[in-house]
Symmetry: C2
Subunit: 471 residues, 2 copies
C-alpha cells in the first residue's frame, strides 16, 4: 500500500497564507466531514479542511500536496451514498461548497457557466426563472453540481433527458499535479481526440478537481402533469414500462414503488397520498409518471393515450395529479423515500444496481427471495424507466459487524445476478470506497488494469481521493 505523509504545521501555515481564514485543522474540523449521507461508509478525520475559493488557490494548494505526497480529497455537499467524499488516510479535504456562484448564462448557445459548489436546487430554480431547464433531477436536490458531475448523477428525469453526462459541455480542472486545464468546450459536438471530458464525468474526484463547469440547458417545458397508476402487484406494474415507449409516449419521469415503501413514506410525511385499496383490491405497487409538454391540450391527449395503454396492461386505475398541489404531494412522498427509510432505521446500506428495464420485475423477485436468508429488512424503489434500482438493507437490532457481514454476502449475490442480466453495479450513486470490491470483481482484471492505468496517468503519485474507484 502506498505511503502518504501527514500535514506538517509548516504546511498548514503555507495553506493559511494562500487562503487566509479558510483553513481548519485538528479540533477545528467539524466531524460531519468524516462521513457522507451513508454513515456506514464513514471514515477518519482529514488532517486539514480547506474551504475552496478559486481555481488558482486550489492549484497552489494541490501543488504543495503533490510535492509533499499528501492526499487531497475534494468534497461537495457530502450527500453521496458510497463514501466517495471521505478521507481514508488523513490529508487535505477541499470543501467546494463555497465556490457556489452561477457565473452566467449564454442564452443563445443554451449553456450556463457555474462554479462546482452551486447546489442543484439553486441552479434548477435559477434556470426556471429564465424559462430554462437544467434537466438532471436526482432525488437529492441539495447536492452540488460538482458532486453530480463526479458521480454522473441521474435521477427522476433521466428516462427522458439522460444523466448529468449529457449536460456537461466543458470543465475547468485542477489536476493532481496542480496543473490547471480545461476539457471540452461550449459546443455540443466534438470529435477532437480522446474525450477527457467524459472520463471526468463519473470519476468521483479521483482524476482532477472540477473548478468550473459549462452545462447545457434547454427551454423548460411549459406544462407538466403527473399520474399515479396503481397495480395489484409489481410484476404487472413493471411489465407496463416498455409499453410507454412502444406507444410513442415519452414520460419525463417514470418511477415504480412498492406498497411497503409508500406506507413508510406516508408515515414519514404524515399524509396519505397514494390509494391503498381500489375496487376491493389491495394495491401492491404503483407507477408515478410525469409527462411534460408545451400546452395542456397536448398533455391531455398524451394522458388519454397513456391511460389506455396502462389500463390495457393491467393497471387498476389512473389517478391524475393535475394541480400543482397534487403533483407536489405525490412527488414529495416519492422524494421522501430515503429519509423515510433513514428515520426508521439504525443500520443502513444500499445497492444502487441498474438492470435492463425488461428484467426489473424478475430481478426484484430474485432480490426478495435472496433477502429471506438474511436478518435485515429490504426496501426497494427505483427508476422504472431506466432500470436503476435502489435496494436498501435496513436493521434496528443487528450488531454492526454482523450487519456488514450479511450485507456483503447479500450484495455479492444480487450484484452477480444483475451482471448476469446485463446490468451494472451502480446506476447513479457511484463506487466511492464502499463498492470498490464489487467493481473489481465485476469489471474484470483487464478493465481494472485500464482504469488503474488511467488513474496513474492523471495522478502519478495517487494523491487525489485515494482508495476510491481504484487503488
Amino acid at each position: 500500500m502506498k505511503e502518504y505523509n501527514k500535514v506538517s504545521p509548516e504546511l498548514i501555515e503555507k495553506f493559511k497564507s494562500i487562503v487566509p481564514g479558510k483553513v481548519y485543522a485538528g479540533e477545528e474540523i467539524n466531524t460531519d466531514y468524516t462521513h457522507d449521507e451513508m454513515p456506514i461508509y464513514g471514515k477518519g478525520m482529514p488532517d486539514v479542511v480547506i474551504e475552496a475559493t478559486n481555481t488558482e488557490d486550489i492549484s497552489e494548494i494541490v501543488k504543495l500536496c503533490y510535492d509533499e505526497n499528501i492526499p487531497v480529497i475534494p468534497r461537495g455537499a457530502g450527500t453521496g451514498l458510497a463514501g466517495a467524499a471521505v478521507a481514508i488516510e488523513g490529508g487535505v479535504m477541499i470543501d467546494m461548497t463555497k465556490m457556489n456562484k452561477i457565473l452566467g448564462y449564454d442564452e443563445k448557445n443554451f449553456v450556463v457557466h457555474v462554479e462546482p459548489g452551486v447546489l442543484l436546487n439553486d441552479l434548477a430554480e435559477d434556470a426556471l426563472s429564465r424559462g430554462l431547464m437544467y434537466p438532471p433531477d436526482p432525488g437529492e436536490r441539495y447536492a452540488t453540481i460538482g458532486g453530480n458531475i463526479a458521480t454522473n448523477a441521474g435521477g427522476m428525469r433521466a428516462v427522458k433527458y439522460g444523466t448529468t453526462r449529457d449536460y456537461v459541455r466543458s470543465l475547468k480542472m485542477v489536476l493532481p499535479t496542480g496543473e490547471i486545464t480545461e476539457f471540452g468546450a461550449t459546443v455540443s459536438k466534438t470529435s477532437s481526440g480522446y474525450s477527457l471530458l467524459n472520463l471526468i464525468v463519473g470519476s468521483e474526484g479521483t482524476l482532477g478537481i472540477i473548478t468550473e463547469a459549462t452545462l447545457k440547458v434547454i427551454t423548460a417545458p411549459k406544462e407538466t402533469i403527473s399520474l399515479i397508476i396503481p397495480y395489484e402487484n409489481l410484476d404487472e406494474c413493471i411489465a407496463t414500462v416498455p409499453q410507454f415507449f412502444m406507444n410513442h409516449l415519452q414520460p419525463q419521469a417514470l418511477e415504480f414503488m412498492e406498497r411497503e415503501i409508500v406506507l413508510a413514506s406516508e408515515r414519514y410525511i404524515g399524509k396519505s397520498v397514494f390509494p391503498q385499496e381500489l375496487e376491493g383490491i389491495t394495491i401492491g405497487a404503483y407507477l408515478l409518471v410525469t409527462f411534460d409538454g408545451d400546452s395542456m391540450e397536448e398533455l391531455e391527449e398524451i394522458i388519454e393515450r397513456a391511460a389506455e395503454v396502462v389500463l390495457e396492461a393491467g393497471a387498476i386505475d389512473v389517478l391524475i395529479a393535475d394541480t400543482p398541489n397534487k403533483k407536489k404531494e405525490a412527488w414529495a412522498a416519492r422524494g421522501a423515500f430515503l429519509e423515510a427509510i433513514e428515520a426508521e432505521t439504525e443500520l443502513l446500506d444500499e445497492c444502487d444496481v441498474v438492470v435492463p428495464i425488461s428484467e426489473i420485475a424478475s430481478y426484484l423477485v430474485y432480490v426478495n427471495e435472496v433477502a429471506e436468508r438474511f436478518d435485515f429488512a429490504v426496501k426497494s424503489f427505483g427508476h422504472a424507466g431506466d432500470g436503476n434500482l435502489h435496494i436498501y438493507t435496513c436493521s434496528n437490532d443487528m450488531e454492526m459487524d454482523e450487519f456488514k457481514k450479511q450485507v456483503a454476502e447479500f450484495f455479492e449475490d444480487i450484484y452477480e445476478k444483475a451482471i448476469q442480466l446485463g446490468g451494472q453495479i451502480s446506476g447513479e450513486h457511484g463506487i466511492g470506497h464502499g463498492k470498490m470490491g464489487f467493481l473489481k470483481k465485476y469489471s474484470g482484471e483487464t478493465n481494472m488494469r485500464l482504469m488503474k492505468g488511467i488513474k496513474e496517468v492523471f495522478d502519478p503519485k495517487m494523491i487525489l481521493n485515494p482508495h476510491k474507484i481504484v487503488d
Copy 2:
C-alpha cells in the same frame, strides 16, 4: 520515432491458418486501401490486409502482431475524411466490412446488437422496418457503424438526437494486447468506474478494435416534414437559429447552405430544387429544416409557429416540402454537397470545425475574409443547429505542394479563430493523421500528455493505428 517490424512470410502463413482465404499480401492488396475519402491524406500500402471474421480470430491476429511489434490498422468502409484508416508504416490492416451482421434487437430494452461492419444505411433501414429509429445520420450513409463510433459521427439529426456517443451502450473490444473485453452494458445509465466506453467513442481505432456494439434505438417518429427557408444573406439566416430553440421548436435537422454550394449541388444532381430569386431578391443563403412528430396535425401546428418565427427573423419565404418526393429532392441536394465539390475539384482539403451556434455567422465572415489571401476557392456548408461547419478548400490549378502549404496556413488561422470563439477543431470527422498537428497545438501540452498516457495504458507498444490522434 518508434520502430516497427515488417510482416514476415512466416507470419503471413500464421494469419492464413487463422483466417484461411481472408489474407491478402503484396500485389493482392487493392490500392483503395491506401486512402480514405480524402485523397490528400492517402499514405502507403499496408503489408497485409485481412478481412475480419469474428472477435476470436481478430484477437489471435492482434496477439501475434503485439508479440512481433507490427502495426495493426482497423478499417471500416474507408469513408473517413482525416486519414484515420490508412497505414502509415505498413503493418496489418484489418478490414471490418465483412463483419456486417445485425445480430438482433432487444425491443423491450430498445437496443440493437450489431457487428461493426454493418453499414449505417442498412441499420437505419432495418430499424425503420420495425418502427424503430437509429438516430445518428451522418451525410455518409455507407460508412460502417464501427467507423461511426470511432469518430463519434454526428450528422444531420445531431441537433435533436445527439451524436453517435449518445447511442452506444456497450462495446466488445479486442485491445492492442489481443485481450478481449467489454465496456458498458445494455443499460442506459451507469456510474460504475471510469467510462472506458466513452473513451473508445471518438478514439479512431487507436485504443482497441470494436468487434460488436449494442446501440440504443428509439421509436421512429411517424411523420416528418421539411422546410426550405430562403434568406437574402447568411447573417440573417444564421441569426434565426437560436430562435427555434427559444420558441420551443426542436427541429430534427437544421442545416444552412450558401448560394454557391447549392448551385454546385444542383449542377451535380442535374435538377433545380432551391429558389434562386424571390420577390426580386437574390437568395444568398438557406436553412433546410426538418421537423418530426407523431401526427400531421402536430407537425402542421409546429410549422405554423416555425414560419412565424423565421419570417419575423427576416426569412424571405417558407417553402414546405411535405410530399415524400419534395423532401427527398431537397435532402438529396443537401446530401450531394461533398460529391458536388469533389466532382468539380482536383485538390481538396477540409476543415470540420465546430463553433458555438451564436458565432457561426461571424466566423464564416472571418473565414471568407481570410480565404481571400489564398489561391484556392473555399466552399462551406454545415449543421446550423450545432455549429459544426464543413469548410472545403478547392483548387484545380495549384501544384500539390503549394496547395498543401497554403491550406496549412489557412487552417492554422481559422482553427485559431474557432478556438478563440469557444469551438473545437473537429465536430465529427475526427483527427486521423491529417489533423494531428492542430490537435497538438490547440489541446495544449497538458491534455496531449494525458491523451498520450491513456494511449500507452491501452497500447503499451503503440501498435494500434499508429500516428493517429497521438504519437
